[in-house]
Amino acid sequence: MTAQAERELETETETMTVREAVRQALREELERDEDVYLMGEDVGLFGGVLEVTSGLYDEFGAERVRDTPISEAGFMGAATGAAATGTRPVVELMFSDFAGVSMEQIMNQMAKMRYMFGGKAEMPVTVRTTEGGGMGAASQHSGTIHTWIAHFPGLKAVAPGTAASAKGLTKAAIRSNDPVFVFENKMIYEQEGAVPTDEEFTIPLGEAAVEREGEDVTVVATQRLVGESLQTAESLAETGVEAEVIDPRSLYPLDTETIVESVRKTGRLIVADESPLSYGTHAEIIARVQEEAFFSLDAPIQRVGTPDTHMPFSTPLEQEVLPDGDDVREAIERVT
């Protein structure tokens, strides 16, 4: 779809939460294509542990909204086999930390099948999963693992930061013939935004969005940190610093061009992503920027992320390590 067509479709909008936007995307795709079905732990009767699929079981029935056993390796493998044989499963992995249990099927089967078979296997599977700290869920239910998936060849990864992108990316993921992981930060499910109502609205994988324009510093922010960076940018504008905030939306493929173009303009870059700092998403974005725009940089690039700890339980500990808008502000202040 052209950017213009996308904009036209965006003209009619409705305000809803990220949770409702994902649910609307699922509902529309279930209605549009009968080869699409949902499967996962408690996605049906229960409505999803974080209520994303609530109501869909009643609308579409047990065949299309399938409750699985607590068996991540089993259902991830089944989804892979099903995708290769003519259907389009949409899997909910309740918490991204549970990828550990199912990683064999993800990395050795789902990601490699098309390639190993010389292109003779389709893999139209979508995996939705939740990430992020902030609700005292402790180390095994708060991880931000999208770097693993974005790093691993053969998988695509998206991570919405707004309600509109939650809908558009989820729909694009389901329509894609590639395996796509949708990383939903659990702290923004209640965040509201204007969402295009057109059923053909999708966001192409690999297109970033400039959420706020500015001349002084580029902030590439993901998921929860998109909203927090926008708030920070507004408050900094009062001090005369105009930040440009970009939500990459898609982590792999990554829209390098939009980011680089912005850095050429501002000369300064902050990368804000909740994943652990070492060897990660931040590093990848920074590497690409220095490859393309090294001589446009006027200041050292700054990273905002989780220091290399797991997510602790107790609130003061969790707040200590969780990156937020204040961390983005401090990073901007270090370089402007």
Partner: protein, 349 residues
């Protein structure tokens, strides 16, 4: 069975000669299991195989010529040279791939059975696994899911008595691996895997059961591999007497004798058949030896349905490399068409 034995004997020899790179796991001795199973299936049924997959491929109707080309890493192989021995696949023919991960086939079969069930198609999916894989958690997850959802799946355990180099009794607590079916409340039976008709009968019943909507069956076939776990295995874990005892019960010999006794085959006809198969495999080797290697830029194909710029830039660079790139392209074009539908053993659904 003769084709499989000839193919794998040749593959072993060519591996020893250094013509075939990588790892090779041969199916010699176990032929009755793959052939008996596939004999009980319809052309468009699915199978998910193991690392020891050549026999399953041939039994499912794949062409030895393109299989051998794949072993040689040629562009005309089933996977265009990207898979090799451990990943030969032809999804259109219902062959969901040999698999380098022990125990990864059953979840794949459960998934294929899910597609079948979801779209109400008249097919089944078979997941092959070895005795070693019965200890893998994902195998039981796959069986549990198929059993819970009454999916049309069949799990065929090829018990060749060794998980790599460790005897089966040192890896499992049950007497018969088919006993594990009890945990999933599905039928589990152990059959003589050296008897092709016993295997075909058991899988045929399992197929009928699956198609009737009664869910999966686990069939354990007791068999034996005559060669090592992989080619080059020095086999310190077993002795020649044991191998000979199993060879006395060889599946091909016994089936041949039975057919001759019944008057359905003459010794001459068998010899003709053997010669025919040998010629076919010889031709397959010649085809593979003379086939073109893939062009380097093909390393960047087939990662995704939609290739992202991250990969495209390397593909573009490799395509425009003058050093050899054009030459390979030229020689490749002489062998077109490469993706001929005739190599598929089944109808595309």
């Amino acid at each position: 069975m003769l084709t499989i034995r000839a193919f794998d004997t040749e593959a072993g020899d060519r591996f020893a000669d250094g013509e075939i790179p990588g790892f090779v796991h041969l199916y010699i001795g176990e032929e009755a299991v793959g052939v008996g199973t596939c004999a009980a299936l319809e052309d468009d049924d699915y199978i998910a195989s193991t690392h020891r997959g050549h026999g399953h491929c041939i039994a499912k109707g794949l062409d030895p010529k393109y299989m051998m080309a794949e072993l040689y890493g040629r562009a005309e192989g089933y996977c265009n040279g990207k898979g090799g021995s451990m990943h030969i696949a032809d999804v259109d023919a219902g062959m969901l791939g040999a698999n380098g991960i022990v125990g990864a086939g059953p979840p794949m079969a459960t998934g294929a059975a899910l597609s079948i069930d979801y779209q109400d198609r008249d097919q089944v999916a078979v997941g092959f696994l070895g005795d070693g894989a019965v200890a893998q958690g994902q195998v039981h997850e796959a069986i549990n899911l198929a059993a819970t959802w009454d999916l049309p799946a069949i799990f065929v355990v090829e018990n060749n008595h060794y998980g790599e180099g460790t005897p089966v009794e040192k890896q499992h607590n049950v007497d018969n691996l088919s006993d594990t079916a009890q945990a999933h409340d599905i039928p589990g039976l152990t059959v003589d895997g050296m008897d092709i008709t016993a295997v075909a009968e058991a899988v045929g019943e399992a197929r009928a059961r699956a198609r009737a909507g009664d869910g999966p069956t686990l069939v354990e076939a007791e068999t034996y591999r005559y060669r090592g776990h992989y080619e080059g295995d020095e086999e310190p874990y077993r002795d020649d007497d044991e191998i000979e005892r199993w060879q006395d019960r060889d599946a091909i010999d016994s089936f041949k004798r039975r057919l001759i006794d019944r008057g359905e085959l003459t010794a001459e006809e068998f010899d003709d058949l053997e010669r025919e198969v040998e010629a076919e495999i010889e031709a397959a080797v010649e085809f593979a030896q003379n086939a073109d290697p893939p062009a380097p830029h093909e390393a960047y194909d087939d990662m995704f349905a939609e290739t992202p710029p991250e990969i495209e830039r390397f593909a573009t660079a490799a395509r425009t490399t003058t050093d050899g790139g054009e030459r390979i392209e030229e020689s490749r074009s002489s062998s077109e068409p490469r993706s001929d539908g005739g190599r598929s053993g089944g109808e595309r659904r």
